[in-house]
């Protein structure tokens, strides 16, 4: 892990060193008393400054935070060698200043790593991923408080890495700049790895969405965890040419796992830069182990090979421009009867997204909605449902008629749609179910 080695995260803690020196009788009682007083003096000064010299008292929680921050600075002030001499000869105030200087250097490293990641954009429409780069890290760098909260990270760091999510920041047993540096170093390596497949990512994500009926970013999954099984398999196959494998390839892999896996890791080692291979080796090995017990269907799903061609793809047309929308809206309002309005809308071939906007603008009232829905094609009704409840369509789930009556309407027209669908005939509902099971809906961007 080339990048991760640039800044060494301190393993020795100041308190542990103090306990060690005390156990070795290198610190006597009077020294300990002096050190304790000096520590308290520094802490009091920090409390005073933290309270803007307006109060000498502080809440227990804040006091503990300031004390933790001081220990964090002292830990970072420790040099990598001659720690004992440094500890015994350097006044505590200087040790704190040293810690601040070391953390300032670490902040510089974090800034340059962050800029490096930002300058290497990859196509991945995941909100959390972009939040890390565009919101959380800049916020951390802009608000980091080295004097009073050096150990604190309030950012969520909620984009999961290949080894999971640093839940409550406990995963790496680190805090403050150490945690950010560790997370960002891993983030950088994973981003570097993903950038190796730069050209294939959009089609891969598209295929994943078609296959599973839900976008990878919607599930909040890590992109590397999708690429690793694929890269492993294309590496061991003799003639793989793309990231998408055939059913024959999958059968071949499963039949020859024992022989193929012998050279797999060595071959991956040759393909990847050494620092990337070092980082991903455990993940490749874990997949290799899993491969022996995996079923054909699971592997096919992992490699995105499940045939999606049996399903038809319905691209929901984008909304029309504002001017055309206003024209249609005014024309509809000029119509005197509901049937005239519906006729006009059909003539203009208004898409479902625009219809929803027109509904919101009050083109129909009460039973007029029911009359409109009665003239809609089955696919249009399903698209209304899809746009209202995309999460229900995830993993190609088929919505049941009973389900609809329990949904809570967000607008006036939703309630009429739910009412219309939950009361439609079994034959019509069967047709709707058929469309749901054979069609993949995607939004046309």
């Amino acid at each position: 892990m080339q990048t991760m080695m640039k800044f060494e995260i301190k393993e020795t803690s100041w308190k542990r060193l103090f306990d060690y020196l005390k156990s070795q009788s290198m610190i006597n009682a009077s020294y300990e008393k002096g050190l304790h007083d000096a520590f308290l003096h520094e802490l009091r000064m920090r409390v005073k400054n933290y309270q803007r010299k307006r109060s000498s008292s502080i809440s227990v929680t804040q006091y503990k935070e300031l004390r933790r921050s001081m220990y964090y600075l002292l830990d970072h002030g420790l040099p990598s060698s001659n720690q004992t001499t440094y500890f015994l000869t350097t006044p505590i105030h200087e040790q704190l200043l040293m810690g601040e200087a070391m953390i300032a250097k670490q902040i510089d490293q974090i800034t340059s790593l962050w800029l490096k990641c930002k300058q290497r954009p990859i196509y991945f429409p995941n909100e959390r991923y972009h939040s890390i780069l565009n919101e959380q890290l800049p916020k951390f760098l802009g608000s980091y408080d080295i004097s009073y909260h050096a150990h604190r990270v309030i950012e969520d760091l909620d984009y999961p890495l290949v080894d999971g999510l640093p839940l409550d920041h406990d995963m790496y047993q680190l805090q403050g700049t150490d945690l950010i540096y560790e997370y960002l170093s891993r983030f950088d390596l994973e981003q570097h790895y993903v950038s190796l497949f730069d050209q294939d990512i959009p089609s891969l994500l598209n295929r994943y969405e078609q296959l599973h009926g839900v976008a990878l970013h919607y599930l909040g999954l890590n992109l590397c965890s999708l690429l690793i099984p694929i890269q492993y398999c294309i590496t061991i196959l003799p003639n793989a040419i793309s990231l998408c494998l055939s059913h024959e390839d999958i059968t071949y892999i499963l039949e020859h796992t024992a022989q193929l896996k012998k050279h797999a890791v060595a071959s991956l080692k040759q393909q990847l830069p050494p620092f990337l291979f070092a980082y991903f080796e455990p993940t490749f090995l874990a997949f290799q182990e899993r491969l022996e017990t995996i079923s054909k269907k699971t592997l096919a799903l992992l490699l995105l090979d499940e045939d999606v061609r049996t399903k038809s793809l319905f691209q929901i047309p984008p909304a029309i421009d504002g001017l055309r929308f206003a024209k249609v809206y005014n024309e509809v309002l000029e119509q005197s009867t509901c049937m005239d309005k519906i006729k006009l809308l059909k003539e203009h071939q208004i898409g479902v997204q625009d219809m929803m906007d027109l509904f919101d603008n009050g083109i129909f009232y009460g039973d007029e909605f029911m009359m409109y829905f009665d003239t809609c094609m089955e696919i249009e009704l399903i698209v209304f449902l899809f746009l209202l409840h995309q999460e229900e369509f995830a993993f190609h789930a088929i919505i049941k008629q009973k389900q609809i009556s329990s949904w809570v309407a967000q607008h006036e027209w939703d309630s009429y749609l739910y009412q219309y669908l939950s009361s439609c005939s079994p034959i019509k509902w069967e047709k709707l179910e058929m469309i749901m099971s054979t069609t993949i809906f995607t939004l046309c961007v």
Partner: protein
């Protein structure tokens, strides 16, 4: 081995004797034992309100706040100081530092006079009303 830090212990002693000189003008005196008791109370009150006091000399400010009250008899100084502490830390724990210790003590003094020299929950409420009238709200700059 001697650690190089030299704490300014004598400063507290100087303040103690200065305080007693001032108190003597009003017929009061606090013994070493009484000061110890007050520090003990201060520590208990801080515990009660989840606060930590980092400046021991604040005790003298509590005493100075009330020593010229006409309501206090010579044997009531201790008890009154203890009540001041309770009200002070109760308020300190809820108000941000935009209200300084000195400002808080000033308001407590005014409120105590309004409450006929009694330092109790009512005094606390009077202070809270005064502060809220000034537009400051409890814990509005909590970190």
């Amino acid at each position: 081995m001697q650690y190089v830090y030299l704490p300014k212990k004598h400063a507290l002693e100087v303040q103690k004797s200065q305080m007693n000189q001032e108190l003597a003008l009003y017929g009061f005196h606090l013994t070493q034992e009484q000061i110890k008791t007050l520090y003990k109370t201060m520590s208990l009150v801080c515990q009660k309100y989840q606060m930590i006091e980092t400046d021991p000399s604040i005790l003298f400010r509590f005493v100075f706040m009330i020593y010229d009250f006409k309501y206090i008899k010579s044997d009531g100084l201790m008890e009154m100081t203890q009540r001041v502490m309770d009200v002070f830390y109760a308020l300190r724990s809820i108000y941000p530092v935009t209200l300084s210790d000195d400002d808080l003590l000033d308001r407590m003094k005014i409120a105590c006079k309004q409450n006929h020299g009694v330092m109790d929950k009512k005094t606390r409420h009077i202070v809270m009303k005064m502060i809220e009238k000034e537009g400051l709200h409890a814990n509005d700059d909590e970190v």
